[in-house]
């Protein structure tokens, strides 16, 4: 019978009408993001040793930082900027950080009204209040063990 296939297909649609709704009411309800989410950035300036590995790891040269030597002849950060318009969000900078002070956050609404706001000045605004992502961070157990070793 011509049209049998159409009716068969329609039965699938019919069954799905009564299934659980899968969509999220996005702006009202925020989505559950993965723990390793790669969204915004945060920088713990106090922990930074200004080694510049993140700058060198970046494939697209999106990170610029300047340093100076302090009284104890140690390198110190003076400026730190990530230009998000060049950023691939590949995570190589976060993986490269030896002190784990450059971290991803779980922010995802990163659109801005002005072009200048796309550049993140992480030296002035460390963004430490944003929920941190565990991407490339040592697991808590290993972190505790390392502290005991010290």
């Amino acid at each position: 019978m011509y049209g049998k296939g159409l009716l068969k297909g329609l039965s699938v649609t019919g069954r799905n009408v009564f299934r659980k709704r899968l969509t999220e009411k996005y702006p009202e309800e925020k989505p559950q993001l993965a723990a390793r989410w790669r969204g915004g950035f945060q920088l713990d300036v106090a922990g930074c040793i200004a080694c510049g590995l993140c700058e060198r790891a970046c494939p697209n040269y999106a990170i610029t930082l300047t340093t100076e030597k302090n009284e104890e002849n140690k390198k110190q950060l003076t400026t730190y900027e990530i230009n998000q318009s060049y950023c691939l969000f590949c995570g190589l900078c976060v993986e490269a950080c030896p002190k784990n002070c450059l971290r991803f956050t779980q922010e995802f609404e990163t659109a801005t009204y002005h072009k200048e706001e796309v550049k993140l000045d992480l030296f002035k605004n460390q963004n430490l209040s944003a929920p941190a992502s565990i991407y490339a961070q040592p697991e808590k157990a290993t972190e505790a063990a390392r502290k005991e070793d010290k």
Binding site: W37, R38, A57, P59, L88, S133
Partner: protein
């Protein structure tokens, strides 16, 4: 009565060209009598950019070739470098790589099939595959933190071990997926409109398909049994039990059938790999600064769209002298100008959609 042919410009901003492909059609009434395909609207010069990147820095760019199946592109590139440097990969990393590339094959085919049938006018056919794809992308975001541009594989293994959230999601996917397959066959297979639009449309003979260098499901739909996973096994594909589905007529309907069967075979591989997943490290011992020996190497992998070849020339420095990708979509669409001729304009859209090409890969 004297009639005239006219020119119709399809694309580059046409929704059924899957991105920015431009096809200039020469039409006689509604019948296509000539066609010229233009590419290059999404050209980013990736191969040139890569000459100024170190070997690990290349990996994020490969995600952006066939952006529907990032892991498979990662895999082809990292295996090329591993071949050049003779690096042995830990067992666990190999299993995870295979499992993820098959998951991405399913995700890519879900888009391929869904968008294909949507282009023929059936809107509901796109939602069911996208639900399954969404589950896979969520799983991937648990692992890599990103939904499409994963940057998850590394030269010598994978970046991070599996996340605890991944396993429950995969278990749920494995229990729910067979039901989707069953539902989708009910929805599409016997649909009279779909059959009328696709059977005997855009038929390609095996000889023609081979002479144009088609690969992947588009080649296999024409009846050629060619799959790099079987003919030239890479990674650990020789350990798994799966079949290579082959079509008969090489028409649009066969391209749908082959993709659906391939999804089922991929599902089989995922179950086997997940069952046998060993414990252990996920990264081999690789030097911090990757500096392959002088030489060149070519490696092929079976991607969802076809055979992705990667050619790397090393001059002994930390940056590659040349990286070239043989992108399957680019070779696949080369046949368009010939098979469009003689078809009605609505069939041209059906053929375009049935090929499942990605412009990120065509233009690189």
């Amino acid at each position: 009565m004297k009639t005239q042919t006219y020119t119709l410009n399809l694309g580059p901003q046409h929704p059924s060209t899957h991105g920015v492909l431009r096809v200039v059609l020469e039409l006689d009434g509604e019948t296509c009598v000539g066609s010229k395909t233009h590419v290059g609207y999404l050209h980013r010069g990736i191969e040139k950019i890569l000459e100024d990147r170190t070997y690990p820095q290349v990996i994020p760019y490969t995600d952006r070739l066939d952006y529907l199946a990032g892991i498979n592109n990662n895999l082809a590139y990292v295996q090329t470098i591993e071949k050049l440097m003779n690096i042995e990969i830990p067992e666990r990393a190999e299993y995870i790589r295979v499992m993820l590339s098959e998951l991405m094959r399913i995700a890519s085919h879900m888009v391929g099939i869904g968008i294909y049938i949507m282009d023929l006018g059936a809107i509901s056919a796109v939602f069911y595959p996208f639900i399954e794809r969404e589950k896979i992308l969520d799983m991937m975001s648990h692992l890599s933190g990103s939904r499409m541009t994963f940057n998850y594989l590394r030269i010598g293994g994978i970046a991070h071990d599996l996340h605890p959230d991944f396993k429950p999601a995969l278990d749920q996917f494995i229990t729910e997926f067979p039901r989707f397959i069953e539902d989708y066959h009910r929805l599409i297979d016997e649909n009279e409109i779909f059959i009328a639009r696709t059977k005997k449309t855009g038929a390609i003979t095996a000889e023609k398909a081979m002479s144009y260098g088609l690969t992947g499901p588009n080649l296999r739909a024409s009846g050629v049994n060619h799959d790099i996973r079987k003919t030239n096994p890479y990674s650990i594909y020789d350990r798994f039990d799966f079949e290579v589905p082959v079509g008969e007529n090489g028409d649009c309907y066969d391209r749908y059938v082959v993709r659906m069967k391939e999804v089922e075979e991929s599902f089989k591989i995922i179950q086997q790999a997940y069952k046998e997943l060993p414990n252990g490290p996920v990264m081999a011992k690789v030097p911090k600064l990757i500096k392959p020996p002088v030489g060149d190497v070519y490696h092929q992998a079976e991607n969802p769209k076809g055979v992705l070849g990667c050619y790397v020339v090393s001059d002994g420095t930390p940056k590659p002298s040349r990286v070239h990708f043989r992108r399957p979509s680019f070779n696949n669409i080369s046949i368009f100008d010939e098979i469009f001729i003689g078809h009605k304009i609505a069939d041209v859209v059906a053929i375009l959609a049935s090929f499942d090409f990605v412009l990120g890969e065509v233009d690189a």
